[in-house]
Amino acid sequence: MIFTIHNKIERNSIVLALGIILVSAVGGLVEIAPLFTIDDTVESDPDMRVYTPLELAGRNIYIREGCYSCHSQMIRTLKDEVDRYGPYSRAVESQYDHPMLWGSKRTGPDLARIGEKYSDLWHTRHLNNPRDVVPQSIMPAYSWLLKNDLNTRDLRGNLKAMSRVGVPYKDSMINLANRDAIAQASPSSGDVAGLIERYGQATSVRVFDGDPQRVTEMDAVVAYLQILGRLTEVAHSDTSVKFDSKENVASAEGS
């Protein structure tokens, strides 16, 4: 009888503690461990880009300001979401996101495919004071982004830490991180050719915040927002999922 056994368990604190550990460990082991070993958990894309140092700096500011608490970056496999935001998000798209920023709440809209949908000028004005461009907006004004010079000094260490957790940054990328960040936002003065060689032709090199004299935090955030959804083309080329005309939910063929 189970209650007789329990009568013994509840007389011994160590047995009780071990029992709790064992019983609670099962769920996590079954659900999480296989995600690291089953190959088709994440699609493979040899052309998947890594964030440039400037984009990574922008991403860190996005985290610093808590943007993720109001904006998701995960388009679900629902017809209305695909119609509103674009192709639903694939696992590979956040493969190099340490941590992921999928979010849990849409006080504002999803940003997974916001890249290049609006101009740099729109983003700069919107971040500086959202109500200048969207009068009904309830987003906070991030006016300090234009005032603060971007701290590029630590970017080398940041890329190094990212490579330690598994992002394929090459030594040249790590060593030149600080210069590459400046070059991407001030193309007239930096080594743009080297930057393109390291990060690929698709890299956006331009003055993001409208001020060619300085590299500000605004440059970094706008560069990051403009790359969202554009690190890989997988979501646009893969057509294995169709939406039933009556159902809101996607039905996957095969998987």
């Binding site: 709790i20 019983v23 099962v26 999480i32 808590g66 709440k105 957790v165 996957a252």
Partner: protein, 546 residues
């Protein structure tokens, strides 16, 4: 504390002061330096207290046979301070969503930085301190023995509050890992591990000294809370710091694995911090206050192991229709639905315990707090299972319904059980006949329940409206509403939510006032103290460890 304990406490504090000074002067970024300054300030304050008590006599062997209640008293005060602070920030954040200009153009007061101050302030500051304080009380009484030493409970309590303080000030400076409910950076996380292991060892040592053959149900829950939170915290926070002298780190996991780990953590922070721990509270204080035995011992066993096993599978319901593989989502929803059984087992067990004491529920607002807590526990666990079902989740996810659901749990369940517990516990451990004002408890009860209901109805309406507006198509097959139209529609609900939260905050302020007045103005009961351990074994003064 004994003299050797005071000496050890001083050495530990000096060590922490040294670490704080290194952070403050050698830190690579301004945020890390200011975090160091917070550590320095906190340790200096502790050193001042240690200096002031240096000449106080050691506790007599007689005193060392009684229960050790001083850290419990401090824990209750700290919990109330965090409650008022955390709820105040909560109302502020709620107002920001209705009136965005209330950031006053400061970086620290923008919504993204204030929000974790609210969530950590109430969950860890208010809830965590209440759990630590009550666990010290429950484990001593149900084991009929004193805590094994005087230093470790203080180390756990003050160390935990240092963690909360570093976390909250860090958010204002923009220091965050961005993992919800696990925002503090790597150095705060490591410190919490040290504190938490001490807590576990202290708890097990107390249980080992017990004068009762059985370990009471409440302790199972507190033990599960301590153990599982440790496992969750360590795994979800695995990260590589950029520098040992800087605040920034990068999570070891990325993308889909990181999402699953995060919500395995996030959902079980709800399960083992906000549920298991508070069920421990419920299982001790509700029967004590009602003066009725627990209705069913067997139901307690089934519920306990059911919750411990099943919750750990449920986290993936936060990731329905995402890039997480389908099989994990299916497992998540299956266990989420099954969870209703142990959850309602616990809620039912609590309510059936009140049979024969319902007249007390009517007359005693304190017991009514606990009864309402059990009811809201039942409501919010049902709602949770319901929202985990995929089609429901497709509507509710990303909307304010989620916020409403969380607050059904944390206002209706967690806060109600804490306030009911505090109103019982304060007169007991301060040896007062009763609380200072029974009328204020009654006022608090009605403020809290109206605040909760206004909050929940506002968020349910907001969430369902949002969900429907986002998916409505017009006849030509295009989406009817822009995103902008959907959040403009939220304004009245956001105002109502802030008002509901404000009522709840006023209630918490009244509780604070009432408890302070009880301690300061109610006469001490002179009758023979029956609240003493059965063993009366003196603690050996050299036994202290930290």
């Amino acid at each position: 504390m004994t003299f050797p304990e005071r000496a050890l406490a001083t050495r530990i504090t000096l060590l922490m002061l040294g670490i704080g000074l290194i952070m403050a002067f050698a830190g690579h970024d301004i945020g890390f330096r200011l975090q160091g300054a917070v550590v320095v300030a906190a340790t200096l304050a502790t050193l001042v207290v240690l200096f002031l008590i240096r000449t106080q006599p050691e506790p007599s062997p007689q005193e060392l046979t009684y229960y050790y209640d001083a850290p419990i008293k401090a824990g209750i005060y700290l919990s109330l301070i965090w409650a008022v602070l955390g709820m105040f920030v909560g109302v502020w954040v709620a107002l920001l969503l209705a009136y965005p200009e209330l950031t006053f153009d400061y970086a620290w007061s923008s919504l993204g930085r204030l929000r974790p101050v609210h969530t950590s302030g109430v969950i860890f500051g208010f809830g965590g301190n209440a759990l630590i304080a009550t666990s010290f009380h429950v484990v001593q009484r149900t084991s009929r023995t004193r805590l094994p030493d005087q230093l470790s409970p203080w180390f756990v309590l003050l160390g935990f509050n240092l963690f909360c303080l570093v976390a909250a000030t860090g958010y204002l400076l923009g220091i965050t890992q961005s993992k919800e409910y696990a925002e503090p950076e790597w150095y705060a996380d490591i410190w919490l591990v040290i504190v938490w292991v001490t807590y576990l060892v202290l708890y097990l040592r107390t249980l080992a000294r017990r004068q009762e053959p059985h370990i009471y149900v409440a302790n199972w829950y507190y033990l599960a809370f301590i153990l599982v939170v440790a496992v969750l915290h360590i795994i979800n926070n695995l990260a590589v710091p950029v520098s040992l002298l800087g605040s920034k780190s990068y999570s070891l996991f990325a993308g889909v694995q990181d999402a699953m780990t995060q919500w395995w953590y996030g959902h079980n922070a709800v399960a083992f911090f906000l549920t298991a721990g508070f069920l421990g509270m419920l299982y001790y204080y509700l029967p004590k206050r009602a003066e009725r035995p627990i209705y069913s011992y067997r139901m307690s066993i089934i519920s306990f192991w059911g919750i411990t096993f099943m919750y750990m599978w449920a986290g993936s319901h936060h990731l329905h229709y995402t890039a997480l593989p389908q099989w994990v989502q299916t497992l998540g929803v299956t266990f989420s639905v099954m969870l209703i059984v142990p959850s309602w087992g616990s809620a039912g067990n609590a309510l059936l315990t009140l049979n024969g004491a319902w007249h007390k529920v009517r007359d005693d607002a304190t017991l009514r707090f606990m009864m309402v807590a059990a009811v809201f526990y039942g409501i919010s666990t049902f709602e949770g299972s319901f929202m985990a079902i995929r089609p429901v989740n497709s509507l509710s996810h990303y909307t304010d319904w989620t916020i409403g659901h969380v607050h059904a749990g944390v206002l209706g369940w967690v806060s109600f059980i804490v306030f009911g517990t505090f109103y019982s516990l304060v007169p007991w451990i301060w040896h007062r006949q009763r609380m200072y004002s029974l009328f204020l408890i009654e006022v608090h009860f009605w403020l809290a329940i109206s605040g909760t209901i206004i909050y929940l109805i506002a968020m349910w309406n907001a969430g369902i409206t949002q969900g429907i507006m986002w998916r409505t198509y017009n006849e030509s097959g295009t989406l009817t509403y822009s995103f902008l139209e959907s959040f403009v529609a939220m304004h009245p609900y956001y105002v109502a939510r802030a008002f509901g939260g404000f009522l709840f905050l006023i209630g918490a302020v009244l509780a604070f006032y009432n408890i302070v007045m009880t301690v300061r103005h109610m006469p001490i009961e002179r009758e023979v103290n029956k609240d003493i351990p059965v063993g009366l074994m003196p603690v050996q003064s050299g036994e202290a460890t930290a």
